[in-house]
Each structure stands twice: as structure tokens, then as C-alpha cells.
Amino acid sequence: MSETKSISQQERVKIPRQKMPTQEASVRVRNFNEVALGYPEETAMREAARCLQCKRPKCVEGCPVEVDIPAFIERLREADLPGAVQSLKKDNNLPAICGRVCPQETQCEALCVLGKKGEPVAIGRLERYVADWDLTHPSPPPELPPPSGKKVAVIGSGPAGLTCAGDLARYGHQVTIFESLHAPGGVLIYGIPEFRLPKHIVHAEVNYVRSLGVEIRLNEVIGKTYTLDELLNEQGYDAIFLGTGAGLPMFMHIPGENYNGVYSANEFLTRVNLMKAYLFPNWDTPVKVGRKVAVVGAGNVAMDASRCALRLGADEVHIVYRRSREEVPARAEEVHHAEEEGIIFDFLTNPVEIYGDEKGWVRGMRCIRMKLGEPDASGRRRPLPIENSEFDMDVDMVIMALGTRPNPLVFADSGGLERTRHGTVVADERTGRTTKDRVWAGGDIVTGAATVISAMGAGKRAAADIDRFLRGEEAPVSRAEAAIRAGAS
């Protein structure tokens, strides 16, 4: 340690970015165990030594929750792991998860000064190292302030809900999370596979939130079991945080989409991850094992679905994407791992029809080749079909990973919540306040499908604002004012 501490800037710059040990591709395609194995101590220290401890650290600007990155790396360098954990957790409630799933290459690492000439500090891997140390060296739960006597209902137990609930409990409020599924964690549990985010890590985070006194009520669907208005007016909650995510799957609306063997990525991943279909028949939920599988889309969801299909035993898995490699929205590491595992990428290709056999099963998919035109509203070049370029793919399973929207179920029989035409809730970005009195929202329900870290950050900001409101520091904003604020932001 002392040697790495005393080295000069030039020497630091010379240390190469440390590789992450992984399970061998040929082995891991046959199991659901974690792919990336984490840095051993020595590697972590060598990587930490690369950080220049910038006075005005660029990396922090790239982090959606502004983790004090040089500070935690500094603590790590000094082998002060409790200190490193503390500075990391000040801004990030879920570091063991974020270290594994954040798109660092477009956030902190994208701005790291070392990245200008060489490779950026592997901030995500160091974050994971510190957070994993924390998981195996649990600290006593924090002391809670005396109960405020206020009750808050948090709807949804994904990263937004868990974070908001944890912070509110630490402010002294009584918090109940309502979760429609039978297991807490949101996408972390039902969507992201075990081989990328082991479920014991999600359980640990959930248990931590429980240890703060948060009650988690599973199998209760808000909008059905209770409505928002019932929670506010009959069940005695002083405030509500909506963190129900964006779980509604989208389909292409092309012919043949309802043949057997066509799945939404949500269904496929829920069967595999939440319901553990990869352990069928020891677990009861089945899933089809395709021979030749096409996954439509190229986000994280598509990568996860394709790699699950491969692990279940498919002979060949294709990612079918209408844009080119440049536009792929998935994390770079996932694309890299998918390619290593033998996933085939068909860029500039778009399905137009799915064929079925007489029993209603998929037997093929007709696609058309695409080219890139002028940039569209998203700033990416618009994909355009090339005439007469149709061709048929021989597939027996198709998984649609085209994005998701907020599920409107939660709004049932409760008025006053303004929504955009994309179905997302209108909320003030800084506070999470919605147009409905005493209701806050954050995460994918506000942004549409985004990231774990942005959902976590929104949950944190909302918790702070709910706390202000509950302590009577500020009257709730009127509906109109909130709408104006949100519109202006």
C-alpha cells in the first residue's frame, strides 16, 4: 500500500487498467453463475493506484448521484475500507448493485481524465470491490431518530422505492412498501439475470432496508388491492412515493406476434429470473427452450434475454437490431460478454412478419434490411428500410425487447395525477413532486425505462423532499404549480 501511495503521477499513469477476472465464456454459457468475478485485493489496489485524485474531478460530474469518487478511492488506497464504504454510501445506497450494472462507460468513466489519452480508472469495478467488502463485513444498523409519527406508503420495491423507503426510515418516518410481485427488488429481481447480478446481493439490500424498520407488503397491487386514494384517505398514509417503474412490454404489431414461442422480454426474463424456470422441473415454472432464437432490440434487456436463451440451451441466438453497432444502447461490457459467448448480432435488420406452423408455433421470421438516414428526434440516425431486401430467418423462438412503458394499473380510480403522452408521470425533477397532493414519484415511472442509478437518485431526492414536507417545512405544491415547474425543467 505505502508503495502505491508514494508513487509519482507519471508512475500512476503507467499502470494499465486492471482486467476483471471472468468465468471462461465456454464454461459460463452453461451456467447461471456470475460472469464477472470481482477484483482480488491486489488488483483492486493496483487499479486504485491509477487515480490521480483530481482537484476538480470530472468523474463526479458524470455520476448521476455525484458519488465522491476520488474520496472513496483514496480511502481504499489507504486500506481504510470502512471509510471507503462510508463515503460511497453517503450518495449511493446500492453500491454493490451499481458497481455491477451502471453504464460506467457513459457516466463517470466517460469523463475520467485518464480516458483522454488512455483508459479511464475502472471506477465501477472499484465500487463493486468496496461494496462487496461491505457485504461480508456488515456494520451495525444506523441509529434511527425518534419516530416522527408520520406514515409513508412507497409503491414498488425497485431501486427507486427501496432507496426512498430506506432514507425515509432513517429520517424517522414509518414506511410501508407495497409490492405487487411475491418478491421485492423490482427489475433487479425479475429482470436482470443471476449471472449479472446475483440475487443474494439484492436480498442483502432488501434486508438492510427491512432492518431500518421498513415493512414490505408483498402481493398487494396498488390500483387493485388498494387505490392511491384509499391509502391517503382511508389507510392513514401522510404521503405516497410512486416507484412502480416501467414494466409494460411493447410489441411490434406485426403479423404473427401471438404465435407460440413469441415472448416479450419481460415475460421471458420473469420466467427465467423471478420464477427460476432455468431450474425447471425442480421449480414449477416452465419456459420454452428455443433451438434458434431471435431477440429483437439491443438494449440491456435484449442482451440479458439473449444470454439467458443461450444458457437454457439454444443452439443459436441472434440479436436483431434495426440500427447499427454504434447506436447499441446496452452497457459496453454486456455487449462484449454477449459476443464472447457467441451471440450473433444482425445489425440494420428489422422484422416485418413472424410465420407459424399449423399448430400455432413460430417457424420463421421475415426481416428487412435497413440503412441509416438523417438523425431523428433522439439525435440518432433514423433507420430506413431498404426496398426489396426482405429475407427469412429460420427461428423457432422470438423475444421482443423493444422497450417498456409505465403500467397504468397503479393510477386506477385515483385522479389528479398528470401524465405525459408516453404514459410517464409528470414530476418535478428536483423533488419528485407530482401534480397530485401528497404524492411523489421517481425512477422509470417518471423517466421511462432508464437506469438503476437514476432511479435510486430520484428515490433519494424524493425522500428528502417528503421529509421536508412531513416536518412541515414547506407546504405541498399545488397541482398547477408542480405542472408548471415540471414543464419548465
Binding site: H182, K224, M275, P281, P286
Partner: protein, 279 residues
């Protein structure tokens, strides 16, 4: 958690369970369903609510033991608990004063048709009912149905009880007999509902069916339950479970119900083997 407070064997393979779930009972209405998980490693299956008791805080389910999960559920005794129980899901039946309504319940579909018939009666309708099963020992709730119907026809496929006929026969006769019927509900196996749709189509009487598609979450998040109705893809769990029976793509529904036939067989064999060995 979700304790079983009463259990009844309605027929050798048809069981009734009354389950304590006050939050669900509080809101349950005719036509809705719940998602049940029997044990921690279990799958999520939808079961239509056969009855509810808000005071006792209970929901009654009636199911036929056709596969591993329903067989496992059938072994559950009073005092035991279910791993999870979620609801009430789906849209309730549209209960209004239509005039004269006809309720058709086939097989295990007699259970969910009962609260609908009762609600329709309470809303002031004249309720005619037809219930049927393959044979006498599969028939149940005749008296309950009689109590909420102005007229009740009972039939069995093999003639072992009541009239020897499929439910579509008296259905057709009633329509041909020129009885003015304002609305029909039919619940039962998909194939029965399909034939009810074909039978009633020429008479132009609205037909409501309750679709029993495969589900996972039951809240609109996966699309497992999707089926085409009137040329549009609908999610049974949130857009239904009741639909206009004349608009449903029955062959698609029937195909989609068979997706896991092989795995279901495998799971069942494993279960039966486990039981034969006395586990």
C-alpha cells in the same frame, strides 16, 4: 399468511378452498381473479374468484386438479397456508339491469358463473341458467345455482344426471324458442366457450366469456396472457378476463393454452412419482 380456513371436495378432482385474504376480499367482485402460488418454488396461476365473504375476509376458489400445481393445491388442508395470493385482479363483470340474462357454466366453470348469476339477480335481472359437466360426479353447486336462478337446466354429457346433452344444446333451443334474452355469460373450458360463441352468433345476442389464458404476473407486465379479440391483441389479465365471445380468436387461445403441454406432463409425472414414493 393466506391461510386455508375451509376445504371441500366437490367432486373427485374438483376441490374448493376458502382462503383468508382480507385485503382481497375487501375489494373482490364477481368476474375477477387471483394469482396463486402454492409454495416457494411454485408457479403463478390465475384462478377465478368463485365467492367472497367480506366479513370473514375470505375468498373461495374452486379448481379442477389437471396438472402439478392444481394437484399440489388440492392436497392443502385447513390450517395450511399458500405462498402467495394476489388480487383481486382483472376487471369485474359488468353487472347491470339488462332484463333477461342467461348464465352458462360448464365443468369447473360453474364456480365462477355463480357469483355473476347472483350479482345479476341482485341487480334485478331474470336469470336463466344452464350448468353442465361430463358426468354426474363432476357436477356441483346445483342448489346454489338454483337459488340465484329463475330457471335452471342441468345437463351431463353422458346423461348420468339431468339432461343428456352438451350445454350448447339447451342454449340453442332457448334461443330458437324465441325467448327474448338480452345477454349471455358463458364460462367453462375454452372449447365449450368457443362452441357457445358459434351457437349464439346467428341470434345476435351479446355473449360474454371469461378467458382462462396462461398468466405470469396478472398485472399487464408480461403479455403471456395475450389473445386477439376483434383483431386486436388484448391482455386477458388487465383488459379482461371477460370479453365479447363473438370477437375472440378461439383457435389462437386454444393454441396458446397448449404452449407448455410437454413441460406440464413432465412436471406432473415428477409429482406423481414423488407421491407414489410417499414423499
Amino acid at each position: 399468511m393466506y391461510e386455508i380456513v375451509a376445504r371441500e371436495e366437490l367432486a373427485p378432482v374438483t376441490k374448493l378452498l376458502e382462503i383468508r385474504a382480507p385485503a382481497v376480499a375487501r375489494k373482490a367482485q364477481a368476474g375477477q381473479f387471483v394469482i396463486v402460488r402454492v409454495h416457494e418454488e411454485g408457479e403463478r396461476i390465475p384462478l377465478t374468484i368463485a365467492d367472497y365473504d367480506r366479513e370473514r375476509g375470505t375468498i373461495t376458489l374452486v379448481f379442477q386438479e389437471v396438472g402439478k400445481t392444481t394437484m399440489h393445491l388440492g392436497t392443502k388442508q385447513v390450517g395450511e397456508c399458500l405462498a402467495s395470493f394476489t388480487g383481486p385482479l382483472g376487471l369485474p363483470s359488468e353487472i347491470e339491469r339488462y332484463g333477461t340474462v342467461l348464465c352458462v357454466g360448464g365443468g369447473v366453470g360453474i364456480a365462477p358463473i355463480y357469483p355473476i348469476a347472483r350479482a345479476l339477480r341482485e341487480a334485478g335481472n331474470t336469470v336463466l341458467s344452464i350448468i353442465g359437466a361430463r358426468s354426474k360426479d363432476l357436477l356441483f353447486w346445483e342448489e346454489k345455482m338454483r337459488a340465484v336462478s329463475d330457471e335452471l337446466i342441468v345437463c351431463t354429457d353422458d346423461g348420468s344426471y339431468g339432461r343428456k346433452a352438451l350445454v350448447t344444446i339447451p342454449l340453442k333451443e332457448m334461443l330458437e324458442g324465441g325467448r327474448s334474452i338480452d345477454r349471455i355469460w358463458a364460462i367453462g373450458p375454452a372449447i365449450m366457450m368457443k362452441f357457445c360463441a358459434l351457437t349464439t352468433q346467428p341470434f345476435g345476442v351479446p355473449l360474454i366469456v371469461s378467458l382462462n389464458s396462461i398468466m405470469v404476473d396478472g398485472t399487464g407486465m408480461c403479455g403471456a396472457c395475450r389473445v386477439e379479440v376483434g383483431g386486436q391483441t388484448r391482455f386477458v389479465c388487465v383488459d379482461g378476463p371477460e370479453f365479447d365471445g363473438h370477437q375472440v380468436d378461439w383457435d389462437q387461445l386454444l393454441a396458446r393454452q397448449r404452449i407448455y403441454l410437454e413441460q406440464e406432463k413432465q412436471a406432473l409425472e415428477l409429482w406423481q412419482h414423488g407421491h407414489a414414493c410417499g414423499h
